[in-house]
């Protein structure tokens, strides 16, 4: 059984790429393959000519920390850290505290930086995750159904924030809700692990 088969896909610089597909179509698996969280059984993923397959586990991890940002379905935060500290973990030690605060402020959490995750709503927690993904100014942000645990309004707000604040980074977002891809530059459809069509 294959999660994805015969997929050839290029993520262009600065683009917002939407990967659309029904539940179980292999969207998340594709995202994990693209981001180096999983290794393909066949084929390869290259980032600016560097093969992820040729890298060892630690090299792939370092690449994720330096060059990629992640927003997952669930707003995973560390319960013993406040919002600001949860953002700071995404950047190597010594990164600017003020940038973490700036991001939180821009995402409307400037007054709540000291709060722990349990003191924030679901939407606020996902916004902290967005700030965390943006902190290191990654080349690519991978978002795996980032609106799945949010209501529609909050979901749209999160996607919009990701899109607005990604600067020069690309955004690859997986979703089954096409309305969340209104701002996407390109959308690809995935059905049963195979790329069906592409639309601009």
């Amino acid at each position: 059984m294959y999660a994805c088969r015969g997929v050839t896909l290029t993520v262009r610089r600065k683009e917002f790429l939407g990967i659309l597909g029904p539940s179980g179509s292999g969207k998340s698996s594709l995202l994990y393959l693209l981001s180096g969280l999983k290794a393909p059984s066949e084929g390869d993923v290259t980032v600016e000519g560097q093969s992820l397959k040729a890298m060892n586990d630690d090299q792939r991890s370092r690449m994720r920390l330096k060059r990629f940002g992640f927003v997952f379905q669930q707003p995973y935060l560390l319960g013993y850290l406040n919002a600001l500290e949860n953002v700071r973990i995404a950047a190597p030690q010594g990164s600017s505290d003020s940038r973490a605060f700036e991001l939180l402020d821009r995402l409307g959490l400037g007054e709540k930086w000291r709060r722990r995750p349990h003191e924030l709503s679901g939407g606020e927690r996902q916004r902290v995750c967005v700030a965390r993904a943006l902190l290191a100014q990654p080349q690519v942000i991978f978002a795996d159904e980032p609106t799945a645990s949010l209501d529609h309004k909050n979901g749209e707000a999160v996607v919009s924030m990701l899109n607005q604040h990604r600067a020069d980074g690309s955004l690859v977002m997986v979703t089954h809700d096409v309305s969340m891809l209104a701002e996407a530059d390109r959308i690809v459809h995935l059905v049963d692990g195979e790329l069906q069509e592409a639309a601009v």
Partner: protein
């Protein structure tokens, strides 16, 4: 991107009001440990209790040989010579020692010995009341660093004795005062016809207490010759310094082996103490090892449970880009801090406990407990090491098989 003025102002306000919060790296082990005190404190508490328990037990057991060495420490400065029941042998043995000893002899003196007893933490120990002539008594006390005597030296021929401070404390003795009530006067009798263990035909009164850490009981040799059996003079042989004294002791015991003489040197006490408690220490080794295994398994289970509760954290951190090595190192340092804190607190707690026990229970009776006993702390060393190794291996094993995708995909949570 330049910050807007408003953001910059807010940032300054935030950073100035929480400098400490912001400067600490959020993934520092100290941050996790201090903010999860509900987990940290029980872990430290278990190690603390285990270390305190082990070191206290060992210090208490160790106090037995320590008591033996302390009580008989006075024999370190001399070589005792006994003719094995034949009084005519004493002068011959002493003459031979003077003639053939490998080191210069400073003084040889005759003494008589009657038996008394002192109390120890594990019961009564025999202790000699040494009968000496006045000049020999002065020399004997000088060799034991007595600079001050409360009261006076015993009068030659009289049923009087001088004891040292530890002996006075141990037997609750004070200087005889004829004006005090009869009941209190009993506390100044060191040997008496009523005492089975410290017998003398007459009541031997304490007339002086010597200020020295050595355990000392001396009385006039004339009294011992007149009232005590057997009528045998023993010899005490002194070298010029401690190094020579040790050489003399070793030589003397070996030289007179299997002959009509018995020689007593301090090194024999040390040797016998070690032999005597060998079995006890073997049992202690087994008990400590069993305890260490039990505590280690318990701690490993506890740490394993706590690490299981952190799967989301580890999955998230690995997913965003922290390597297994970085996460392992972080958990290792967290464990090391917990174990070190528990061990240090345990060692400190044991010292405090023993110091209190010493002050309240043992010091007033001059019983010997070493609250800074290095052997006791050596016995606790396997605990933190074993816990750290097992905890490290457990976490390593977890990470070895850990897939962060299972967390972010919510397959494991």
């Amino acid at each position: 991107m330049a910050l807007t003025e408003a953001v910059e102002e807010k940032r300054k306000r935030v950073t100035s009001s929480s400098t400490a919060t912001i400067r600490v790296w959020p993934l520092s082990p100290f941050v996790y440990l201090s903010r999860n005190s509900g987990k940290t404190i029980p872990l430290i508490g278990v190690i603390f209790m285990a270390v305190m328990l082990v070191s206290s037990i060992i210090a208490l057991i160790d106090s037995i040989p320590f008591s033996v060495r302390s009580i008989y420490q006075y024999s370190k400065v001399m070589l005792g010579v006994s003719p094995r029941g034949d009084p005519s042998e004493t002068p011959k043995i002493l003459a031979e020692i003077r003639k053939t000893a490998p080191v210069p002899i400073e003084r040889i003196m005759l003494c008589r010995v009657s038996s008394a007893q002192v109390d120890s933490i594990v019961g009564k120990f025999p202790f000699p009341m040494i009968g000496l002539s006045r000049p020999d008594m002065q020399y004997y006390l000088q060799k034991l660093h007595v600079n001050h005597i409360e009261g006076r030296l015993p009068t030659p021929g009289e049923p009087e004795a001088l004891v040292s401070t530890p002996v006075a404390k141990n037997l609750d003795l004070h200087i005889y005062n004829p004006n005090e009530p009869h009941k209190l006067r009993d506390k100044s009798i060191v040997l008496s016809p009523d005492k089975q263990d410290s017998y003398s035909p007459r009541y031997v009164k304490v007339v002086g207490i010597a200020d020295t850490p050595y355990w000392v009981m001396v009385n006039p040799i004339e009294y011992q010759r007149a009232y005590h059996f057997p009528p045998i003079d023993l010899g005490l042989v002194y070298a010029k310094n401690q190094k020579d004294q040790d050489t003399l002791g070793m030589w003397g015991v070996k030289h007179f082996e299997k002959r009509h003489a018995q020689l007593f040197a301090y090194y024999q006490i040390e040797k016998q103490t070690k032999t005597m408690f060998k079995t006890l220490y073997t049992i202690l080794d087994v008990v400590t090892a069993a305890l260490a295994v039990m505590i280690t398994l318990m701690m490993a289970m506890l740490m394993n449970i706590y690490q299981s509760q952190r799967l989301i954290e580890f999955g998230l951190l690995q997913a965003v880009g922290y390597t297994r090595g970085q996460l392992l190192r972080r958990v290792f340092w967290e464990s090391a801090i917990v174990v070190a804190a528990g061990w240090l607190l345990g060692v400190g707690g044991a010292q405090a406990l023993l110091a209190i026990a010493n002050a309240v229970l043992t010091a007033p009776r001059a019983f010997q407990i070493d609250s800074f006993d290095p052997v006791a702390f050596k016995y606790t060393a396997p605990l933190p090491i074993a816990i750290l190794v097992v905890a490290g291996l457990t976490v390593w094993w977890r990470f070895h098989r850990f897939d962060p995708v299972s967390i972010v995909e919510r397959r494991l949570v």
